[in-house]
Amino acid sequence: MTPELLEEGTRRAETYRATHSAASGDTESGGRAAAFSRLAIPGEVDTTHGRILYLEDVSVSFDGFKAINKLSLDIAPGELRCIIGPNGAGKTTMMDIITGKTRPDAGRVFFGSTIDLLRYKEAEIAQMGIGRKFQKPTVFEQLSVFENLELALKTNKAVTHSMLFKLDSTQSDRLAEVLHTIHLSDSVSRQAGFLSHGQKQWLEIGMLLMQDPKLLLLDEPVAGMTDEETERTAELFLSLKGKHSLMVVEHDMSFINTISDIVTVLCDGSVLAQGTLAQVQADERVIEVYLGR
């Protein structure tokens, strides 16, 4: 390619972006012209191909035990995907791989079409827009509910920035909104360590919301919650669906029944079955791994 052609291409790409400025920072599927001369924007999640997360032939073993075995899985933008599976099926390990905590031995993990997650560290992956809730609720126990949420807020997270950080009014509004969503408005100044188990779960979910992630990974979000809290959580997740992509690992079948479209069953580190809850529950192989033969 000659330099003239390169310059011409750059010029055309710029004109295109100038005329389509609304779409330029926010690549979404649908409603866009064909992908001619479209440039990959660093750090931007490209979901034009209709998938926000790809896992392809991922394997990882610990001391010879294959925790994940040629796992392939993909999730669409805005989807709420439920993952079920017996203990030791590799659900948590899969989340560890996606969030950068564990490096797989083989396979590829992509966020959108362009971001290779295996090249980033935990903090960078979180910054790009993948939020994670742990199995055991993990909040900052010595800090107040307010401070917990403030720390999770999506903003520049460099050291110098944190030293001079002041909450602006938009951010305060966002914080108040999340506090309301997670039903903790009355406990703003309470120390997080004194919250009930269910409230800690909510606080952690609230911290994820503050991060405003594109993809949320939720490991047993309703464990230890009362029926009422579980119901509220289901409502919350359904309201998040569409705006965010969610991956929920749960054992509570009635909860899954309320929220799920597609359920993926993991077993021995790979996908055993996939479909609606009714479909997978009718699947012979699924019944076999859950009930034994």
Binding site: E122, F134, V139, E141, L151, K157, A158, L167, V188
Partner: protein, 373 residues
Amino acid sequence: MKPVSLPSPAPLLSRTGWAAFLMALIIVCAVAPVLNLLVPVGNLFHLSDYGVGLVGRIMCYAICALAMDLIWGFTGILSLGHGLFFALGGYAMGMYLMRQIGLDGNYKSELPDFMVFLDWKELPWHWLLSGSFTATLFLVVAVPGLVAFVFGYFAFRSRIKGVYFSIITQAMTFAAMLLFFRNETGFGGNNGFTDFKRILNIPIATQEMRMTLFVLTGVTLLGFFLMARWLINSKFGRVLQAVRDAETRVMFSGYNPLGYKLTIWTISAMMCGVAGALYVPQVGIINPSEMSPANSIEIAIWAAVGGRATLIGPILGAFIVSGAKSWLTVAYPEFWLYFLGALFIGVTLFLPDGVVGLIKRLSKATNKSGDRS
């Protein structure tokens, strides 16, 4: 949706806090000098030179305890090697003081006595900056800072945590001590530096100079206290506490803990360096025993006794423990180490939040009984 009242950011110090701070500043800058220099010896209110020396020294320790609190109390990283940073700052100042001796040494040479003794003909390279006071001030913070930065970078990047980190910091200061014991290292071997004559060409052993150093140390301590307070009140400080409570959550919230730990670790080391530099001219000696593991452990004890994660606690802790030490080592010299051990065990078992925690608990208890009656 009903409006939520969000807490407003905490002020640097409360009104009573500022009042107490100003009082401390006045005591250090005005009351102590007047009582020492103007009130005649023999008067009830006279502050003895011994007292000035003792409190001056303890204020240096308090700076170390404050530095330890930032890294241990707030960030949850127990360093058992802070004595090294203290000694490095002290050595940087000591080198300058050695050069200030000039031709007044035993050998009447431009070179420090121990170099003449070792038959060295010129200053080694690492003494090149020691002639300048400005350069010395720079080295006092830069050397401990650099050592801490390099050490911390590799330790934190490898995610060394908890007791493993404590052990390697202990090993670090021990290794440095062995290095400084050697004559070839060029820091006076096991004798270290002593016999200082002048600082900035002013005689060092006068009452006025002692008082000046005392005031300087007090002002530095108060300044560091304000700085620490500012750091801890900022979001940076809250991230540090978050690292202490749940480091993985911090990472998955998008923070890289490495930068945060490294920053506070380096700041803490620099504070100890400054404390060391203020300490050496007051006690008139620096030698490798300052790097002995026991000294570093003592810094941790000050912080633990006073109360971790309370800023004011470690300062009190330094005063209580060092005060008790200076009295006990005179009255019952053989019991000091037993006392120190018992104190550490007692505080760990019964006072997890130190003296400050105890005071808080007591004031709460009296408030409650007051309500009932």
